[in-house]
């Protein structure tokens, strides 16, 4: 019994670790690991399996335009994107990704079914809907739909917004308003975000998850 117990774990560790499969690898920095494996084994810990996050702290990636994900990962890899969420969580994850892995990840998420709509806000999100679809020309705020699509589905380098979670939206709008330099690829949003009041942001964050 003694020797059996002593060597049991060694046998498990040595024999089973010899059966490593790149399709289930969590290695960052190994170009042989396919993008889907990284998505399932690593990215899913925050962004959820198939890109539907269970946490408001992290965005849904499912159905995001491939161009947007590709560009963001490159920006994070190069540490050009410097907002707290980017630096704390993503610099390390992205630092060793190859161009090919980034492209595979972008294609993987673009192909996933979008997250379902969130529960409706307690109040009718009329203000949010109006801002999203029509903007507020008198204050220099264009309609979100003009870049992000009429259904918030995203478009090329413009991210999908539909059904993103409220907490994530509020946090990113705050970053774009107060620290525009930290998201250089979002520079087009700087002017817009600067015009948004706190009430505007809350209205959009109430509406977008439910649209």
């Amino acid at each position: 019994m003694k020797p059996l117990f002593s060597i049991a774990w060694l046998a498990c560790a040595v024999l089973l670790s010899g059966c490593a499969d790149p399709s289930r690898s969590r290695a960052l920095g190994d170009p042989k690991v396919p993008g889907q494996a990284l998505a399932e084994q690593v990215c899913s810990n925050c962004h959820g399996q198939r890109g539907v996050s269970s946490s408001e702290n992290f965005p849904h990636l499912a159905a995001q335009p491939a161009d947007y994900v590709d560009a963001q990962l490159r920006s994070l890899r190069g540490k050009h994107r410097r907002d707290p969420a980017g630096s704390v969580y993503m610099w390390g994850i992205a630092r060793d990704l190859t161009d090919s892995q980034i492209a595979q990840l972008a294609a993987y998420y673009a192909a996933q079914p979008a997250a379902a709509a969130g529960p409706a806000a307690p109040a009718e999100p009329r203000a949010g809907r109006q801002l999203f679809t029509e903007g507020a020309a008198e204050r220099g705020i264009p309609a979100c739909a003009s870049c992000h699509g009429d259904k918030g589905q995203g478009n090329g380098g413009f991210p999908r917004l539909a059904h993103q979670q409220r907490g994530y939206l509020l946090r990113q709008l705050a970053v774009l308003r107060t620290s525009p330099d930290s998201r250089p690829m979002g520079s087009i949003m700087n002017t817009v975000a600067h015009q948004l009041s706190d009430d505007d942001m809350r209205a959009l964050a109430d509406y977008i998850p439910t649209m």
Binding site: F5, S6, Q41
Partner: protein
């Protein structure tokens, strides 16, 4: 590391008091052994920056609000997948050190304050740890801690001597299978402390986190208050298998036994006399249900363990076995939305401790205040602990917490370490037949200890945490007042603990 029912030091001291009570040479030796074990095992593990270097991520990716060792959902998955996310580091080493000051509210009710409250109000280097670990292969990873305690023992002249020994260790194999609609993480862990493989911080091995300095001035700080634990201590060797299905259902099962053979490194530096020696296998079971929504995660779970521990680890005498049955239910709620990190934790535990026949039915040396004999010692005890904590951290920089503890249990003259001397009818520390114990004495034979701890902390950068804890006692060793028979009240033990905890 977790080595006792009510936290690391208290259970060991509890056993030590129990054994001192026996007066036999073996009892005294066992008490010394237990004291050494307390000194060398009461050093919990923490985060290791080697993981940070491996993943390239900030500490707060894995630790809620950057507050190590409390894990975020991502940190739990990092651990459950075998510490294998990232790239293998060239030098898989890290270190941590803790400097602290402890201050007991009342040090006057003591014959020898310099012994009972050693290093009170003085800055000490409390402990230092070296870590090795991280990714080894795609499926194999490790967390290994080796800790130096500058105050591990004290000679007859009062001089302290340092000692280094194995601390928490966890080597695991893990794999993850993602299928249509299901996600299964499966792993096997070889570790040296029950629940060290657990990813939630209500686990016995993790709920108490700031290292406890060994000098006696720290005997009442928060880390020395009742915390969850098992009858089995650290430096045992266990093999557990676990599964986490769809990030909802967690199951872990395995067994622990005395450390020897190829796993001897898990007790490296520990004197043989200081080890926990088990008879056979001690089965361990853990189940938990986890759910996440919005910024929230909630876990509700439970665990159970049975063990048979030899009274003296150097003698495998079945007649001296202590039999423990531990069970617990625990819950943890986290609300994590940058820059906020809120955590609520609660644990309720029950331990049944059946003593060896040689300790049961014994006539106590003490008598009651009227000189009448006390009841004989009971063959078993039941201890119950409720521990709850709430903490909040903002911007991974400023934080505060409050915790509550309530240890209760059966009254047993076996656990009485103060009492009336049958010859003089007084409570005296100098009696040859029935000496009483100041400061740590127990006049009632009841373990009831209740109180709260308030804490504030500051993380100026991710490698450093500076904190202050103040612990209030309403009851200690069964009483609010005069718990040791020498007039010491529970509130006299109120303690301030200020620390600086550095990791790199």
């Amino acid at each position: 590391m977790g080595a006792g029912f009510d936290g690391d030091v208290p259970m060991l001291e509890f056993l030590a008091r129990m054994m001192v009570r026996r007066k036999s040479a073996r009892g005294r030796r066992a008490a010394l052994v237990v004291a050494v074990a307390a000194a060398t095992q009461a050093l919990p593990a923490a985060a290791i920056p080697v993981f940070n270097r491996q993943t390239g991520q900030n500490c707060q990716a894995c630790h809620a609000g950057g507050q190590y060792p409390e894990l975020t959902p991502y940190g739990r998955m990092f651990k459950l997948t075998g510490y294998t996310i990232g790239r293998r580091t060239d030098v898989p080493l890290a270190m941590m050190a803790l400097a602290s000051v402890s201050s007991v509210r009342n040090t006057s009710k003591s014959d020898d304050p310099s012994a009972d409250f050693s290093k009170n109000d003085r800055v000490v280097l409390a402990s230092a740890s070296l870590f090795a670990g991280g990714r080894i292969t795609d499926n194999l990873g490790a967390f290994l801690q080796y800790t130096y305690d500058p105050y591990a023992s004290q000679d007859a002249s009062g001089k302290y001597h340092g000692h280094a020994a194995a601390d928490n260790m966890d080597i695991r194999y893990a794999d993850r299978f993602v299928g249509t609609g299901h996600d299964l993480v499966f792993g096997v862990s070889a570790n040296n402390n029950p629940s060290v493989a657990d990813p939630w911080n209500t686990a016995a091995a993790w709920m108490q986190y700031v290292p406890v300095p060994s000098p006696s001035s720290s005997q009442f700080i928060d880390g020395a208050t009742p915390y969850p634990g098992y009858g089995v201590g650290g430096n045992t060797s266990g093999l557990t298998a676990y599964a986490f299905l769809d990030e909802h259902l967690y199951l872990e099962a395995g067994a622990y036994r005395s450390t020897r053979g190829v796993l001897a490194f898990m007790k490296l530096g520990q004197p043989t006399s200081g080890l926990t020696r088990l008879q056979g296998n001690a089965p361990y079971l853990r189940a938990a249900w986890n759910v996440a929504w919005g910024a929230s995660t909630l876990m509700i779970g439970g665990s159970t363990m049975r063990s048979r521990v030899y009274d003296d680890p150097s003698v495998a005498d079945p007649a001296t076995l202590h039999r423990f049955r531990d069970s617990s239910v625990d819950a943890q709620y986290q609300w994590l939305l940058d820059p906020h990190a809120l955590t609520l934790q609660a644990v309720a535990t029950r331990q049944q401790h059946r003593y060896p026949d040689s300790l049961a039915g014994q006539a106590p040396a003490f008598v009651d205040a009227q000189g009448n004999p006390l009841p004989p010692s009971s063959p078993s005890d039941v201890l119950r602990l409720l521990r709850a904590k709430a903490s909040y951290t903002w911007r991974a920089t400023y934080g505060a917490g409050i915790s509550y503890f309530d240890l209760s249990g059966t009254t047993n003259t076996l656990n009485q370490s103060s009492g009336y001397d049958p010859l003089t009818g007084t409570i005296t520390a100098t009696s040859a037949a029935a000496p009483s114990t100041r400061v740590n004495g127990n006049l009632t034979g009841n373990p009831r200890t209740t109180g709260e701890t308030l804490e504030a902390y500051w993380l100026p950068w991710q490698n450093l945490r500076v904190g202050a804890q103040y612990t209030f006692y309403q009851r200690y060793n069964g009483s609010a007042r005069n718990y040791d028979g020498f007039g010491r009240n529970a509130s006299d033990n109120d303690s301030l603990f200020v620390y600086a905890w550095f990791a790199y």
